[in-house]
Symmetry: C2
Subunit: 352 residues, 2 copies
Amino acid sequence: MTAGTGRVPVGERLPTLEDVARVAGVSRATVSRVINGIRNVDPQLHEMVWNAVGQTGYVPNRLARSLVTRRTGTVALVVSDSESHDDDPFMGRFFADPYFGRVVGGLMSVLRAAGIQLALQIVGTEEQRTRLVGDLRHGQADGVIVLSLPGHDPLPRMLTDAGVPAVMIGRPADPVPINYVDLANDTGASLAADHLVERGCQRIGMISGPADVPASNDRIAGFRRSMARHGHAWVPLASGNFTQESGEDAMRTLLAESPGVDGVFVANDLMALGALLALRDAGRRVPEDVAMVGFDDSSAAVAASPALTTVRHPLEDMAAESARLLLARIDDPSMRISSVIYEPTLVLRQSA
Amino acid sequence: MTAGTGRVPVGERLPTLEDVARVAGVSRATVSRVINGIRNVDPQLHEMVWNAVGQTGYVPNRLARSLVTRRTGTVALVVSDSESHDDDPFMGRFFADPYFGRVVGGLMSVLRAAGIQLALQIVGTEEQRTRLVGDLRHGQADGVIVLSLPGHDPLPRMLTDAGVPAVMIGRPADPVPINYVDLANDTGASLAADHLVERGCQRIGMISGPADVPASNDRIAGFRRSMARHGHAWVPLASGNFTQESGEDAMRTLLAESPGVDGVFVANDLMALGALLALRDAGRRVPEDVAMVGFDDSSAAVAASPALTTVRHPLEDMAAESARLLLARIDDPSMRISSVIYEPTLVLRQSA
DNA sequence: ACGTACTTGGAGAGCGCTTTCCGAAGTGTT
DNA sequence: AACACTTCGGAAAGCGCTCTCCAAGTACGT
């Protein structure tokens, strides 16, 4: 036997704990202890076991292990679309949006170090939701990170009711006792308002996101509040759905309704990109004629021309934090529910 | 008992097949048959079982099922970075790039319909690779989609050696008998070359990607071949690493080396965005002074100004196809190795 | 020398499910 | 009425692992 190579012919039955035990001349239990680093094993046996592991090329079967330990080493990332009816075209947009990638990147930076894998799930229908929660209760994943799409999503509540460790990225639309990580969206919008006013803009409008997203509402509220404080009781507002095209349309609307606009706060960078196009078409220069502040500081902000002055949304950090929170919660289920709110900052570039 | 609600108190032991069997007054085996839709069950018993399922709120335990069926209903998406040493800053960039999102979106469109979940794995070190392959052989996932990052990745070979159903997105750097889905990158580059020449450009340069990526090499080769055919035996070339900044730098280099350049093919849209910036800084108008053709037709192409004429890379379709290929391979492991090559098309916009 | 306490390794009972194997019951033929 | 078939449901053997017991071994105090 060519010891130590650990090669196992393909197609053959994979070595089990039993096999290792036989080779090492000990019992399954002992091998299990050694593998899992539990003390109380004679150093000599310890070594024999490791030799046997090398010789047989043994790799533990995670599935079998999970069945008994009720731990899978997996966290689910659930994209919950409460109003979809299966192949919603929205999903394509969602994944293409830098938002998704930034979240995944942030999560992975933490999970990877912890040796935990991420399982992606999309749920839209009630049936999928029920099934997901059922699977989760069975320990299909140790916990879940929830990304809620627009709408009143029943999933967060279901998750807490089922006692599944969960953390949301972005505040839930309805009050639910669930851990979440969010951005002080209102403060961010205030920052934008303050900057536009300080810059000397007189007629400032806003392009907002959809009304049923908490983050979107907070940005509107924060912006209005700050504008009011600066003496602008009312601000012209047009809304989009966070896509570039919708931003373009919204800007046209805004321009039509308030032709004198000389400053605009756009609730995300992608829409700002569209708005920039609309302004160019209308022959307005940015920032000379109209100053613009975006939101997110996504890659689109740098790609834009002029580069966008925008509110920085530290999504990667937030995602990483949510992963840490979840991991902590998994380790200690009695941990009390908490939320972390990040403070946004303004990134100055050319557009305002 | 409030029948039919299917509610199970949290924290309590979840109902098992055994429980359902007891309630229905049949054996575990019969319940299993009913749940899995196997014929040969008396319609009456069939109904009693379903009633019992409803009453108990039974949800099958996927883990337990997988242990015996050797099917998990999971496909792994492996991002294989052959040269990373753990927390590589490259990963952040990778996820933020629209590339990743488009692939995930394409995969999910197929997997979701098939009721299969996607597990994200990042492997960098040799140890992670070995472990991944070990887990995979144990049926941790039914198959794997591989996304290889730059470099000579040993993973594809390991996967085929281990007999794991796998499909790569993008041709492997080294010849390995593995299923893959790729784009005719050379044809795409030819398209770009032809277009620039037809447009009347006299001095055409290229900004390429990194040298150790097959896709990148193919684009260079295809471009050169086509240019040679048009009588340009040599083309000035600068290279980047597919990021916006590197594109900006490369454009500056190109401009310095060949000031008379009036057309440029940039190997991806993100770099093209950067190149656009460099050209503006240099006071060159696009497309009047310098015409530009990008590659990918990512969201960046539309976001750019002027909007990019670019080679369409149907990544979503390709990812979807790779998922279908993998699923077919899982169903029939004897299926012969095949690859699908997509033909790119040119999308005309403002930049050329 | 005996009892007590602690360490160490093995036997075996599961985790929740699928699936083979069989016997019992039902159907039709001669 | 006896035979061969077919259909159907249950008993039970695992899948590969962990972990609780328990027995044996070792060390110590009295």
